[in-house]
Symmetry: D2
Subunit: 350 residues, 4 copies
């Protein structure tokens, strides 16, 4: 298969960096363009970026010139855009690209709540791609969002539980610093401290969860009727959002039923290089998952960080408690968008 030419927008930020890392030697994609803010435009990528990920700048990207995100227009020179743009500029830029015929796979929040845009995790709600069919009636291109990093950790564990009748879920997060980008949280606020507030995050978790678990009806998604409560808290961890949840169920499944359901969440098969064989990993140990041990869960090699780990399953009557862990930069950001693009290609959307 011929590789598709892709652009990485917002390539100097931490999610942009993860895009570049995960796209290195990717069998389906060829990075043709990097963009960032006007300040960085015209520079060599290695001069423009303050690289913070382990392993350093991928060789292929170091000498590429950085384009101005605001001047991409309809997106000449690439078929697919991976967007790590800041929300405040993402909306306009991504829309122009979609109108220009590009497939936009966005990590930005701007379009997530638009009725015609799916918030996609292929293992969960592939049927939401029907919205893209609608989009394509109007424009050549389209926009597909991945969810917020915190939403992805909870929604992947909730999906298999839907059959037990999920009425309400109370979510608390233990979110890593990388979720705030770089420079992000000042070290004096982070070190040895816990900050019980992350701007706009709780609303995102609530709204995205309902949409992602909802049902496509005509031109939009009818939200799942789940009462979601979310409290988002920053902890001094580098990478990996841990989340705890108590779920109110209508039915009374046994613990074995629950585990079977979770383990039964199907992977996308070998066709998608970034898809993990097992998207959900159920840990039986009493003290797992943990960021330092489980943040890179997922096989094969290219899918490291794409599996969500779930543990500490416990019933309080009809309420089920669990703890989940998601790699916020991989499954919760760059990897999620890449998997969405792989899926869209396989399904001939682009």
């Amino acid at each position: 298969m011929e590789k598709r030419k892709v652009a990485v927008l917002g390539a100097t930020g931490i999610v942009g960096q993860m895009f570049l890392k995960m796209l290195e030697d990717h069998p389906m994609f060829d990075v043709a363009l990097l963009s960032a803010s006007a300040d960085s435009a015209g520079k060599k990528y290695s001069d423009a970026v303050n690289w913070v990920l382990e392993g350093g700048i991928p060789e292929y990207a170091a000498n590429m010139n950085v384009a101005d995100s605001g001047a991409l227009g309809s997106g000449k020179g690439f078929d697919i855009a991976f967007s790590a743009l800041p929300s405040e500029v993402a909306e306009t830029i991504e829309r122009k690209l979609a109108h220009g015929g590009r497939g936009v796979f966005s990590n930005a929040a701007s379009h997530r709540m638009y009725p015609e845009v799916p918030v996609l995790i292929p293992e969960l709600n592939a049927e939401h791609m029907a919205l893209v069919d609608n989009q394509k009636k109007k424009t050549d291109g389209f926009i597909v969002c991945n969810s917020n990093c915190t939403t992805s950790g909870i929604v992947m564990a909730l999906k298999p539980l839907l059959k037990f009748g999920v009425k309400a879920v109370t979510v608390y997060s233990y979110q890593a610093l990388s979720g705030a980008g770089h420079p992000g949280v000042p070290s004096l606020d982070a070190l040895g401290n816990v900050i019980p507030f992350i701007k706009d995050e709780e609303e995102k978790v609530i709204n995205e969860t309902r949409k992602m678990l909802g049902t496509v009806k005509g031109n939009w998604v009818v939200d799942a009727p789940i009462d979601v409560m979310a409290t988002c808290v920053r902890v001094p961890v580098r990478n990996g959002h841990l989340e705890t949840a108590v779920v109110e169920l209508e039915k009374e499944p046994s613990m074995e039923d629950v585990k079977k359901a979770l383990k039964g969440l199907k992977g996308m098969g070998g066709a998608l290089p970034t898809a993990p064989v097992h998207p959900l990993i159920v840990r039986e140990e009493g003290n797992r998952p943990q960021p330092s041990l489980d943040v890179m869960a997922g096989t094969p090699e290219r899918a490291r960080g794409m599996a969500v780990s779930v543990g500490r399953l416990h019933f309080y009557g009809k309420r089920l408690r669990f703890v989940s862990l998601v790699n916020n930069l991989v499954r919760g950001a760059a990897g999620g968008a890449i998997l969405n693009a792989e899926y869209a290609i396989t399904e001939k959307y682009i």
Copy 2:
């Protein structure tokens, strides 16, 4: 007033250290004896302890000899015992002391669930001291427990909400490393990580909360009929347990009603040196409380760390969310026990 002679049991551990620090120049107490395990017995305190608190060993304690906790018998030489003993030995030793006529104020978990022993926070459930009257019918001395460090943070915020009809509460903790003592959690497990398990802690939070908010009926406490769910998680913070909770209420108070109720929790007045003027502090800022800023909340000086801070109040329908912060070594351990003893003396129990 003549100072009472007190012993600190388990004086070399981190809670023992905090007892010594808080008892320095205390107007009501005079430290007459320190005890620790047989290994340390006979040593000078400064040789026996691996001191980990800021400021170093209080001068008065450095040269005291350490007695063997297991050989204290009925407790000659002191009236009051502050116990920071490990649970596995606390039960027998504390019981002997109580039979010997001592007032035992214990931070150990061993006696908390005994029907005849109050788990006391004077601002909340002073009436539970009626159990001590019962104890004193049988023995000259008595045992009063303070709650587990995590329980104290949640129960202080719940008490003023009882009048709105608390049906259920889901608690998640972000617990500091000092709660595990020293050596406690290995640094490789703690640094940049979150551990979603603390042995026996969830059960303690559940059971103690119900008991502490319950009602004395004759010789025991009838538990409060509250459905408590707790998930306890360790985070890389030195000191200060942050907790988040969602409370299901029967009534529908306004936010103003809730704040008024919380702020209205009465302090013990100036008679008790370690009692904070305001036991509950309601933070209006969107990102408080935080361990690094609020762990020493409480006035006057001697009551620093004795106030619990509450913030992020929010309604999801009839469910109320809040975040609380308790100094686990002070209000949640040594300071809690000292306040209990101050109260018992003032009320002539000893």
Copy 3:
């Protein structure tokens, strides 16, 4: 004694915050004015500041209005200015104040290398105040600098060693995050990491050490002929710069001689409220000093954080190795400046 009216310049930064904390209830000073950048001017202090120190904003300061540092002119309304201004603006503002008759005690680097300005630690080089006599021939006011935070930790340990003939010193630092201010170092760069570079810091340590240990000759200081080498490194510690040094000596003192010399560094006596009784504390334990245990060294209460701790003394032939610890926000910044002002008042410079 009547209290002097003082201004705190740059009051919203972390050193400004520490000034406000240390000036609370100060027996010699009355805070009459707070200033910050034009952005903050006109606001209430509590609205302008992002407070990061434990314990919160001192009550006396919370409601004060913030003045514009750039518009202070000659400094009406106060006698003494404590400057925590950023270097890039400090020079002009401080100079105007000195010309206006104010005594300026500055933590900024701008004036430290001017020949007519002393870099003062009263216990070390009080005789450098002779430079102020020179300044006062030209202006009513004057400028006195305290040293860079890292310099203060090393120079206090070196001074008593001068009598053994200090030829060269190799310094390595383990510097706390608070030294970079707030927001300062991004948490992703700091957490679980070490950064072997701090802008301009090594030059400051080298130049200030030579000047501070030098000798006043007429209108300037002749540098001490010591070969200083410094490598400055940031570590994930909140507060407290640890430094290690190897000193080449001309003489061959015994270890007892060395300890005696260090312990012999005289305090300023009880007249200066912020002066510690023992400015240098020699730790005999094999693993001290440590930031978490020793950062607040110093008695009495008001001098907490003003003592430098020294340990791990060892000879390699004629080379002496030691480790020192300085509280970079207290002795190394706000406390240093306050002590300098206390000294200047006592000596009738103002």
Copy 4:
């Protein structure tokens, strides 16, 4: 080539874990036996180990039975032993194995200072393998040590500088927590703190550096005449020892000469799977190396963590300052031993 059967001794510790990780799918080795203390003997490895490395227990090892290290005798069933034994038991066990004909590649300190045992880094002192020829005159097997983790970081940077006449070196370390094993340093001692003492470490750095850079003369090594001073300090970093050094040189090379020398340190070529192409990487950026960015330096994939990074080169007159970073678990421990074994096989020592 047929794979050699190897044993990993002390397989449950953190270095043992790294051995297992690095030996997974190794082209030259087949793990035939795991041993640990008597407590673990007889258990399945996954039950015996408290695994702390990212990625979890390698599948091949999880179900292996653990043997008792003390009962290995002459080592039936394997040709090569990788030893991560604690020093206190390593000496006897390793010696028996060598007498039994095994090639022992040890990370333990016990034998490093024996005259007949080389402390080997093949890129530096391959000629020290002559000592093994001597050993083999007496026993069928032999012992080869790798250096202490901290020594490896400094000695690799010093070796290329020898031609400029290294007279003395002052070393200061910023050592990671993993160097102390697990449980190792308690989190309360580590978090937000710096501990300026590591037992026996400074002596090791001093003695091993001299030996490793020395010259084989007959049956032993004549130490390099370098005056080594070392101060070893623990910092809250997970993995990666950063070290700073000032080196006194006889000659006066230009900075270009120095860089050329460092970059010129030759790799072992492609024959040794764990050998990095470039054993020393010179960083030109002003703030590198850093643990979080550079700890996995080294190519190809199997040699990740085997390269030492050097930066911040600066001359103070004839003294050269540099900062180096070594992966203490890889190049400084398991990887070092594995590379030594690969070299010994290639050179037909076994």
